[in-house]
């Protein structure tokens, strides 16, 4: 009995050890002129299927071109990315890191806030200074400045932007019902009424997740506060309040949007279910992000769709902005033993031809000036690209102690939330924010 047990244990241990021994084999370069040392380049990315597919193809070409380099790319869920970057950087187990959400740094007027995680990575000395790299020049100056720099040094290249302040609309339904594509808020209200009269649901949205309702109404925030960085500063120093007269108008419109425009039942649709529902062809509009376009097409809609900025204002000029965020970027681990290979990797990735192929595959709004988004959604957003603005929440860091309602979210309104009075809600939002501002005074 004793013997069988111990042999079983021994077997377990041996099996595990043998597995440990068979680590990834480094491919040997062919015996060309002085063979460079074999390098395994470890790349960490978050799961976004078209991007991963592109990177796999890119890695293959890269390895063929540089036979001494093996690219070992790990994919993790977006939600785990910050934790895994933290552990892998600590273990010196990564060379090229995916930075997801490189927004604004903590500003001097923000009291007692914690820096966003990318800034913490830089301050801890975990990311390499890329300022002198030639490939930096392939990207928009604005991009490098807004989504890659800290204290005058460049730490990341950002690979693209997405916008979330637009509305997909069903061109066939608009034509069949003689409805004009709205460019102002009153036209949007009228369009919804026309569709409702024809027994067609005006809008759908992934209400269950909450945030799709919020970003769907982004145009309402943007129309009132086109200067989003200024909005954040104003909220912090008290010159803008979520319950002042200007904001109250925003809340009133948000209620109309949440209560009257979006179809009943939408509060149970998950965020990734909404594109499919729109693609079924029974719904006139769908406020969504540019990243939703592939999902709509994947559901094989039998109609043509278009994309317009959400008209939040009655002045059509105010509605020509697109708000959005920077998506994914690349950075290099500061103490990588494979510095040359890592920089070579980013340098080849940044070559205009490669970058163009990347943008096409992933559907980001490009951050290289020479690249163009060659897809249906790319054509739809092209007219507004000159007016692209980074959204408020990319700049926003809430004061510690602020309540959970301290945000301009349309999803606080019924049926998504519990509120149905704009004034009462506005006061509650401002009070929750004020509690934080008072706490850190």
């Amino acid at each position: 009995m004793k013997k069988t047990l111990f042999s079983l244990l021994a077997l377990v241990v041996i099996a595990s050890l043998s597995l440990a021994a068979c680590g990834p084999a480094a491919t040997q370069g062919p015996a060309a002129t002085p063979a460079p040392a074999a390098v395994t380049l470890k790349v960490l990315v978050h799961q976004n299927p078209p991007m991963v597919a592109f990177m796999e193809a890119f890695n293959k070409t890269f390895q063929e071109k540089h036979p001494n380099i093996t690219v070992d790319m790990s994919v993790v869920n977006a939600g785990d990315l910050s934790t895994v970057s933290q552990t892998r950087l600590a273990a010196n187990d990564v060379d090229v890191v995916d930075i997801f959400g490189f927004a604004n740094a903590a500003q001097p007027y923000m009291k007692k806030v914690d820096a966003p995680n990318w800034q913490q990575l830089i301050e801890a000395g975990l990311l390499m200074d890329l300022s002198d790299q030639a490939f930096i020049k392939n990207y928009d100056e604005a991009t490098i400045k807004d989504a890659g720099s800290y204290n005058g040094k460049v730490y990341a290249i950002n690979l693209g932007r997405v916008s979330y302040s637009g509305i997909y609309y069903n061109k066939d339904l608009f034509a069949a019902n003689n409805v004009k594509v709205p460019t102002t808020w009153s036209e949007l209200v009228a369009a919804c009424e026309a569709f409702k009269a024809a027994n067609i649901a005006c809008m759908t949205a992934g209400g269950k997740d909450g945030w799709p309702i919020f970003v769907g109404a982004y145009g309402l925030i943007g129309a009132i506060y086109p200067d989003q960085a200024g909005l954040v500063e104003g909220l912090w120093n008290g010159t803008i309040k979520w319950n002042d007269a200007k904001s109250l108008e925003m809340w009133e419109k948000m209620q109309i949007y949440a209560r009257d425009m979006i179809e009943p039942g939408a509060s149970g649709i998950p965020g990734d279910g909404a594109p499919g529902r729109f693609a079924s062809g029974t719904i006139a509009m769908y406020p969504g992000g540019t990243w939703n376009a592939p999902a709509i097409d994947e559901a094989k809609p039998s109609f043509k769709w278009g994309f317009i900025p959400f008209p939040g204002s009655d002045n059509a000029e105010d509605n020509k902005y697109l708000f959005g965020k920077y998506d994914q970027g690349w950075a290099v681990a500061a103490n990588t033993p494979n510095k040359e290979a890592a920089l070579l990797y980013l340098s080849e990735f940044s070559e205009p031809a490669n970058y163009q192929a990347f943008a096409n595959a992933v559907g980001f709004i490009p951050t290289q000036p020479t690249a163009k988004l060659d897809t249906a959604i790319g054509a739809e957003v092209a007219p507004y690209l000159a007016n692209f603005r980074v959204g408020y929440e990319q700049y926003w860091i809430a004061p510690k102690g602020a309540g959970q309602f301290a945000n301009p979210w349309a999803s606080y309104f019924k049926p998504y939330g519990t509120d149905d009075d704009p004034q009462v809600l506005a006061d509650k939002v401002q009070a929750d924010l004020q509690a934080g501002l008072d706490a850190v005074k």
Binding site: S82, L89, D209, G265, S267, Q404, P415, G436
Partner: protein, 308 residues
């Protein structure tokens, strides 16, 4: 207790054989948890190379007393207790009831037993997916049933109280199988002689249950009550997959997860805050410790009274 397997050095055998389990527990579980307790008094980000400063009770002060956020946290604490109460009572009761029924010599009981245990095998992510589909308000199965009665519901997307109630339902659905099999294994220890005697005496099923099954099931009752209470106090996964970050629905376990993984909404720019997340998890730990200790004491006394 008298030890029969030798004296002198041989007396040490049980302890030596217990040692590996104990050592593993100290190193792998207790050690890191103690480190968490230490972290909770620092501003550690958890990043390699970042400075760590001692901040005393600042993290606790922030979590429990700072501004409106602390009010939200305390509400989450209250919700945790409500969740624990309903889940424990219903899951325990239902698990016991089903175990007693299924323990009879019924045809097809293997199938029922396997079916009730299936959710445990699936894991939380999939439990979340299938309930999101089952409760889909636009043409989902349950929505269609409600339609027959001329009514409708938003289910998980409804008002916070309704959504919260559905998480309770799914939590029970998902874990009742575990409670059931622990009771089933406990029922095997009760000799059928007792039931035979009771049958001859003409005892009613209720009398059989209260006089034989219930007292003799005490060890399994203790196991299940302990696991149900602690499991529901610490629950977070179903809140994540069914509701996400939604005002008016969060429980402590979910808040801790969201803080630790930087997934609190409102600011997309989340930070690494190991120290603060540690403080939040120590608060939950103390809550579970207090409730768990009280329950353990009550259960042990009851066991001593019944089993002697």
């Amino acid at each position: 207790m008298n030890y029969h397997f030798g004296r002198g050095w041989a007396r040490w055998t049980p302890f030596l054989l217990l040692l590996p389990g104990l050592a593993a527990y100290f190193v792998i579980a207790l050690g890191p948890s103690l480190a968490t307790a230490v972290y909770s008094f620092t501003d550690a980000s958890g990043l390699k190379g970042a400075p760590v400063r001692w901040v005393g009770f600042d993290n606790y002060q922030e979590f429990l007393f700072m501004g409106r956020a602390s009010v939200d946290n305390l509400n989450a604490l209250g919700r945790t207790l409500v969740f624990c109460f309903f889940v424990t009572v219903i899951q325990f009761g239902l698990g016991l009831f089903v175990a007693v029924i299924i323990n009879q010599n019924l045809k097809g009981r293997n199938i029922f037993r396997t079916l009730y245990f299936m959710p445990v095998i699936l894991g939380a992510v999939i439990q979340g997916l299938i309930w999101s589909l089952f409760l889909y308000p636009l043409g989902g199965p349950l929505a269609r049933v409600l339609e027959l009665f001329g009514t409708r519901s938003e289910f998980l997307g409804g008002q916070p109280v309704e959504a919260f109630a559905w998480v309770i339902v799914v939590q029970i659905w998902a874990n009742m199988g575990t409670t059931m099999i622990i009771f089933l294994s406990g029922l095997q220890t009760i000799s059928t002689d007792y039931y035979e005697a009771a049958r001859i005496d003409g005892a009613s099923p209720w009398q059989v249950f209260t006089n034989i099954t219930w007292p003799l099931l005490t060890p399994s009752v203790n196991t299940n009550l302990t696991l149900n209470i602690i499991g529901s106090l610490q629950a977070w996964q179903l809140f994540l997959v069914l509701l996400g970050y939604r005002n008016g629905t969060q429980v402590l376990g979910y808040l801790i997860y969201a803080t630790g993984f930087g997934q609190t909404s409102g600011s997309v720019t989340s930070s690494f805050r190991q120290g603060y997340a540690a403080a939040a998890s120590i608060v939950l730990f103390l809550l579970v410790l207090v409730i768990g200790t009280v329950v353990q004491n009550v259960l042990r006394r009851r066991e001593a009274r019944i089993l002697g």
